[in-house]
Symmetry: C2
Subunit: 327 residues, 2 copies
């Protein structure tokens, strides 16, 4: 199995992806890791590379501010576009990047291409839930103006991914909506509801945003605009509360003392919200493995994303899709 790693994307690149690659390369001897990026800067972060790690050198990167489609078209030799090209040409099974979401989506669509029959691939991050395992959110921002038919395909892909990669035997699929009753919503969700009802999926109906993290659904379907708002809002609210908490707990001697005693508990709570443990968001529906790691991925987050990428390949997700999509 071959993993292509965009060594230059993300806030902590190239240090975090390079170190994570070395760690994974030592653990997974059956896997070949291809680091794509500035060779000298990659080598600065390691003494000797394990035998199953290669480097493809490029000093071209895509800036987060660049218009994604134009950037991908104009920079075929950027680290991200090269990674996509490797997957396209079957020289890698899966690629991972922590670069900008827009550029990853563009390089997935233009560089790798769609699975035949899938109109709109979707970003599918797993969100941490308050109870137990996470929930797969689709689409988290790949397509801005989705149709009900797109949402239906998200649901089918999400259920297949949930079953084959996340080990959920019969994934409960829900539609994100403004109320739980069937008639609720905007034109899009009303139509999508009817389409979802008519499938063989384990469709459990509408879920409101208030309950989306309660663990009642395994796959939650929405359009990419709404999904992106959900993803970013959860992060914003979570970070905001923890930083207020920190502020409150460092005021005054008694409070500080007590807070120190609570540190392990509070850290446990924070860890529940640590995106690092939930890996990256696969870009589902493109004709090859394509994984978006969080922009501020730490070494630990990169390791989890690479483990996820391996599982994606092992489970042969793309072949499974073709089978499940007929269902």
């Amino acid at each position: 199995m071959k993993l292509a790693i965009d060594a230059m994307g993300g806030d902590l690149a190239p240090v975090a992806p390079v170190r994570a690659t070395i760690e994974c390369a030592r653990r997974f001897l059956d896997t070949e890791f291809i680091l794509i990026g500035h060779e000298q800067r990659i080598r600065e972060n390691t003494e000797t590379l394990p035998g199953n790690v290669g480097i493809i050198h490029t000093d071209i990167t895509i800036d987060p501010d660049e218009e994604p489609v134009r950037a991908v078209r104009r920079k075929p030799n950027a680290s991200l576009t090269l990674a996509a090209a490797l997957v396209k040409e079957a020289r890698a099974d899966v690629m991972v990047s922590a670069g900008s979401t827009g550029a990853l989506v563009a390089s997935g669509l233009l560089g790798i291409g769609r699975i035949p029959g899938i109109d709109r691939p979707a970003l599918a991050p797993v969100l941490p839930t308050f109870q137990g395992h996470g929930v797969l959110l689709m689409d988290a921002g790949a397509t801005m103006d989705a149709s009900a038919h797109n949402l239906l395909q998200y649901a089918k892909m999400g259920a297949a991914y949930s079953r084959h990669v996340l080990d959920v035997p019969e994934p409960r699929v829900a539609l994100l909506n403004v109320g739980t009753e069937p008639g609720k919503g905007n034109a899009l969700t009303k139509e999508a509801y009817h389409l979802l009802e008519a499938t063989q999926l384990n469709f459990i109906g509408n879920v409101e945003a208030r309950e989306v993290l309660d663990g009642g659904a395994d796959v939650v379907v929405c359009d990419g605009f709404v999904g992106n708002v959900v993803l970013k809002l959860i992060e914003g609210v979570g970070l905001g509360i923890f930083s207020l908490l920190k502020e409150q707990l460092t005021q005054g001697f008694t409070t500080k003392m007590a807070a120190m005693m609570l540190k392990p508990s509070l850290r446990g709570l924070r860890d529940k919200f640590d995106y690092a443990e939930y890996g990256g968001a696969p870009f589902l529906g493109v004709a090859g493995g394509c994984l978006k790691a969080h922009g501020s991925s730490s070494e630990r987050a990169w390791v989890v994303a690479m483990e996820q990428a391996r599982k994606f390949v092992k489970q042969d997700v793309i072949r499974q899709f073709s089978e499940d999509l007929d269902g």
Copy 2:
């Protein structure tokens, strides 16, 4: 000034609205309070009514599960529809209800009607922010499929309300979007961006969901589907984190001890997120005062909502709208 209060709507009705009314009636002798609901149940919750409190009896209520438009049409004598009728007939200046959002929106639109020139009224709650005062979110769920022109009107109404009722001299208006750059978004937000740019408003551009609670904007504009998701997600994430926190802090003796010492700090933090302090959501754009209080409004939340309703009338918001909307 006359306030019409739906004494039967909300989880804690009639106790909370009745008690809050009595408290407000004693404080605001210039205001007449009209409690609409089951007279006997209202009287059970008070010894004697102050002279400036009246009762309009009805034993008809609108159930949260009823289809709103149908319910409002079929139940002209429900507590909520009667409240709207009082405002329509100028027998009250403003109405407050903690009943279902859908029914309030329907009774506002059908019972009171729109301000001439306003295509779609919008629900405008103030969300607590991590820094300082809150942010006005429009629309939080009154209109499901909004046009860019609707969003433009939300921005104008929001800025006017922010200036006249929330005392923000030059409100910063932002568009909720998936990125900060001008070209980002779905068809709706791209078009709305151009419309907003062309106004005299203090339009500060796009804001991402991650930053929406950071206090960088005073008014945030979005369509009602997205606004409803934002509103409910903040509540869900907030409640979820606090309940996890509680769970973590009651495990083991040392933790419990320390947590007890921290109680005031943690309560302070929780209070920052207490919707009760932020009053209700005015339904802006209807031709009379119409305020939605939170469904689980406590007595305290009701008091704040009534104070807000009084300010709405005092500031003559509806006349101000007509003036500001030309700008």
